[in-house]
């Protein structure tokens, strides 16, 4: 990037100066504020002038209306004219006055002066050129009699406003210009000059002159800026010095590395040519090895043919030996089979014997079972009989006995009820006796009374009544005795009565007991019926068991017969197997003879096979050796091939190394060029003290 011209940048024309811009902005702000203020002040002035004018006109109007009021009351309008005429001409504001009655008819008017030429309607700053104020004329009674109209002009007020409109801005402008000059002067002195100084220093620094002295500024912002600039300059100097040193060091290092690399390059190239030589030599060795290998292969082939033919001979011998072996094996197998057969025959015979004995045991067991079945049968028959008896007893005797008992009980109950009735009747009778007794008592009492009266009469009769007195006494004594007897009878009847009631009670209890007894009997009857049913069931079951055991017995007899039959058969079989066993023993003897002969044959064949095998083995050993040699050669060839491929790889690696070193050389050259450029750049800075001049070689 091209740097801008230093003079243009740091020696600014007035047009571009900060102070000018600042002053202009300040002035513009002031103008706007003052303008707004000016507009407001003028508007206020217009309002105040308007009010002033209106109040004056109103004063005149009110005065005239006062006069008019009196005039209307007196109906003498001469006063109004007189008042109109007396208005002073000096008041320039009033153009004309007019008095109107209630109907709006003009009564009187006076024109003080002509209408003004300018008939403006007024505006934001100016008042309307003319105006009319109408004041009503109020009579003493409060009625509206008419009105006074005053026509007035605002020309005077408007001319005053116009003057103010010109003078105010002129004064403002002059003040503003003065302020602008003062502000510019102070701004230039406080800010403009220091900034210029800083600008010049920065220009020098930008040019690379780090020797410029930057003096410390004041305590204000400018001072801190200069201080910062000074720090920046110092740090820049140090950095550039370090950079210069580093670039010279790097240059040296690169030169040395370049030297080393040129020697490495030479070495790698030499190595490449050496590897090529080795490769050539190895290829030649490979060719030689191939010829050796082909020779060995031919030898191996020849040896293999020999071995093949010998192997054929040997195989034939082996086959013969195998056939003989098989023959022998067959004989052996036959022998073994016969032996097994014999053993089996023996075992069968033995088994037959065993079977015979177990069948005999079975037969014995069956017989035992048979006898026990017979016992069971007997038991079953007995139990059947018993069950029958039980059933019979329960059914015939038990039920009948119970029924009889119930019948008897019922009879007893009836009897008891009968007795109870009798006793109850007895109770009633004893009550009757009580009744009779009370009659007797009454009679006795009456008799007693009679005897007393008789005694009285007798006593009153004196000597004549003596005999009668005796009779009366007797009657009295009799009545007394009767009373005593009656009392005794009464006691007895009471006792009887009590006893009867007790008897009735006990009979009732007895009946209850009887009923429960009968219930028990009924239950017993039911139980007996149950017993009968159970006994019948058990009898039935016993019969069934008996039948079953009988059948079982019959079956057992059949089983016994069958077992005996089996026993006979097994016995027969045992005898037959014994004979067979003898036959197989003879066969075994013959077979052993055959086996001996076969064994002799086998031995002969085996010897022949053995000889052939020996020869074959020797030949095989030779063959193996040759093939081992071939294997070794193969391995060697393999190894040499591997060596060749390794050398090829080395060659490739060498080439790659060469290429890499070349690339590095190239990189180093580029680096060197860049370092030199850096050095040149650093040289442009003029530093205090020593100056680093590093040149790339």
């Amino acid at each position: 990037m091209e740097r801008p011209d230093a003079d243009m940048m740091y020696g600014f024309s007035f047009k571009k100066k900060i102070s000018r811009n600042f002053i202009l902005i300040l002035l513009a702000t002031l103008v706007v504020c003052q303008g707004a203020l000016w507009v407001w002040v003028l508007h206020m002035q217009k309002t105040s002038h308007g009010r002033d004018l209106e109040s004056r006109v109103r004063g005149v109007s009110l005065l005239l209306s006062g006069v008019a009021s009196q005039a209307f009351t007196a109906s003498d309008f001469g006063d109004i004219d007189h008042a109109f005429q007396s208005l002073p001409d000096s008041d320039k504001n009033i153009i004309s006055v007019r008095a109107l009655d209630a109907n709006g008819t003009t009564i009187s008017q006076r024109q003080l002066r002509g209408e003004p030429e300018n008939q403006g309607k007024g505006g934001f700053f100016f008042l309307p050129a003319t105006g009319t104020l109408s004041t009503p004329v109020i009579s003493a009674s409060g009625g509206r009699e008419g009105s006074i109209e005053v026509h007035y002009s605002a020309a005077d007020a408007n001319s005053q406003i116009r003057r103010a409109l010109l003078i105010f801005p002129l004064a403002q402008m002059s003040v503003l210009v003065l302020i602008a000059f003062i502000a510019f002067y102070f701004f230039q002195r406080k800010i403009g000059y220091p900034i210029n100084g800083i600008n010049q220093k920065l220009g020098a620094l930008a040019k690379g002159d780090l020797t410029v002295e930057i003096e410390a500024g004041g305590a204000d912002e400018m001072g801190s800026i200069t201080e910062g600039l000074r720090h920046l300059k110092e740090n820049l100097g140090i950095t550039i010095a370090q950079l210069s040193q580093s670039s010279s060091d790097v240059g040296m290092a690169i030169r040395q590395i370049s030297k080393v690399f040129s020697s490495v390059n030479t070495g790698v190239q030499e190595q490449g040519s050496a590897v090529s030589d080795i490769f050539m030599a190895l290829q030649k060795a490979g060719e030689f090895q191939d010829s050796v290998k082909s020779g060995t292969e031919e030898l191996l082939e020849f040896s293999s043919e020999n071995v093949t033919s010998l192997l054929e001979v040997r195989a034939t011998a082996d086959e013969i030996a195998a056939s003989t072996g098989k023959l022998f094996q067959a004989v052996d197998d036959s022998y073994a089979a016969v032996e097994e057969l014999t053993a089996a025959a023996g075992k069968i015979s033995e088994n037959a014997q065993n079977a015979l004995s177990s069948i005999e045991q079975t037969s014995a067991s069956v017989e035992e079972v048979g006898s026990s079945v017979k016992e069971i049968e007997k038991g079953a028959a007995e139990s059947s009989k018993l069950a029958d008896q039980v059933r019979k007893a329960a059914a015939e005797e038990g039920v009948i006995v119970v029924a009889e008992a119930i019948e008897k009980m019922e009879q007893i109950a009836e009897k008891i009820k009968f007795s109870s009735d009798i006793v109850s009747r007895l109770g009633t009778r004893s009550k009757d006796i009580g009744g009779i007794l009370s009659i007797i008592r009454n009679v006795t009492e009456q008799t007693n009374l009679l005897s007393l009266n008789a005694a009285i009469l007798a006593a009153q009769a004196g000597e004549y009544g003596k005999g009668f007195s005796v009779v009366a006494d007797e009657i009295h004594a009799l009545s007394e005795r009767t009373a005593a007897s009656t009392k005794e009878i009464e006691g007895i009847v009471k006792t009887i009565s009590k006893e009867i009631s007790q008897t009735v009670d006990s009979i009732g209890q007895m009946l209850l007991l009887l009923e429960s007894g009968m219930e028990i009997f009924y239950k017993a009857g039911t139980s007996t019926a149950g017993i009968v049913t159970a006994a019948q069931d058990s009898a039935k079951m016993a019969h069934t068991i008996q039948r079953a055991t009988e059948e079982q017995g019959r079956a057992l007899q059949q089983i016994t017969l069958a077992v005996e039959h089996i026993r006979d058969m097994v016995f027969e079989m045992a005898r037959a197997t014994g004979e067979q066993s003898k036959g197989t023993g003879f066969l075994l003897d013959k077979m052993s003879e055959v086996r001996e002969i076969a064994e002799a044959t086998k031995m002969g064949t085996y010897g022949q096979a053995q000889g052939t095998k020996h020869i074959s083995e020797n030949l095989e050993t030779a063959n193996e050796r040759i093939s081992g040699m071939k294997k070794i050669i193969d391995k060697q060839q393999q190894s040499s091939k591997e060596v060749v491929s390794s050398v090829e790889q080395i060659q490739v690696i060498g080439l790659r190394t060469l290429r890499d070193t070349e690339e590095i050389s190239y990189s180093l050259t580029t680096l060197q060029a860049e370092v030199e450029a850096l050095s040149r750049e650093v040289q442009k800075f003029r530093l205090n003290g020593k100056v680093h001049n590093i040149q790339a070689k």
């Binding site: 009492e445 009266n453 009285i456 009153q460």
Partner: protein, 147 residues
């Protein structure tokens, strides 16, 4: 030997000379008379003859222990029925059994009494003087009842 009829009032025994006694009756239903003294039970009809009944228990201020209530009709001198708890017997006394009444005897004024009679070893009967038992004024009242 003088005979007396012995009767019981409450638990005391009394005797009236048999010469005055007319007869003994069972206690009939009496017709109660208003505005008469408490001891006047009422009037009964004995075979067409009106006889006033006097309750001696109330007359003597004794309690009632009725067993066989009877009416003893006496002449004093008009027929008057005495209601008693029980008529005991007719007893003859020898003069040795009789004694004159004491000064005061169990709240019964001695003017009613004729004397005391020993019934046996334990018991004593009070012998009543019937003219005294029913005063002459009462006699007039009673005879007014009869008419």
């Amino acid at each position: 030997m003088e005979k007396f009829i012995i009767f019981r009032l409450s638990d005391e025994l009394f005797g009236v000379g048999i010469g005055r006694v007319v007869e003994i009756l069972n206690l009939p239903q009496a017709n109660h008379l208003p505005e008469t003294p408490e001891y006047i039970v009422g009037v009964i009809n004995v075979r067409g003859e009106l006889v006033p009944l006097v309750d001696l228990r109330k007359r003597f201020g004794l309690g009632s222990m009725p067993k066989k209530e009877r009416v003893v009709i006496v002449r004093c001198p008009e027929k008057t029925g005495l209601v008693v708890d029980e008529v005991m017997e007719i007893k003859g006394f020898v003069p040795g059994d009789l004694s004159s009444p004491p000064e005061i005897f169990r709240g019964i004024r001695t003017e009613y009494l004729k004397g005391l009679a020993k019934l046996d070893q334990d018991r004593i009967a009070i012998l009543l003087n019937m003219e005294r038992v029913i005063s002459s004024e009462e006699q007039i009242n009673l005879s007014a009842l009869r008419k």
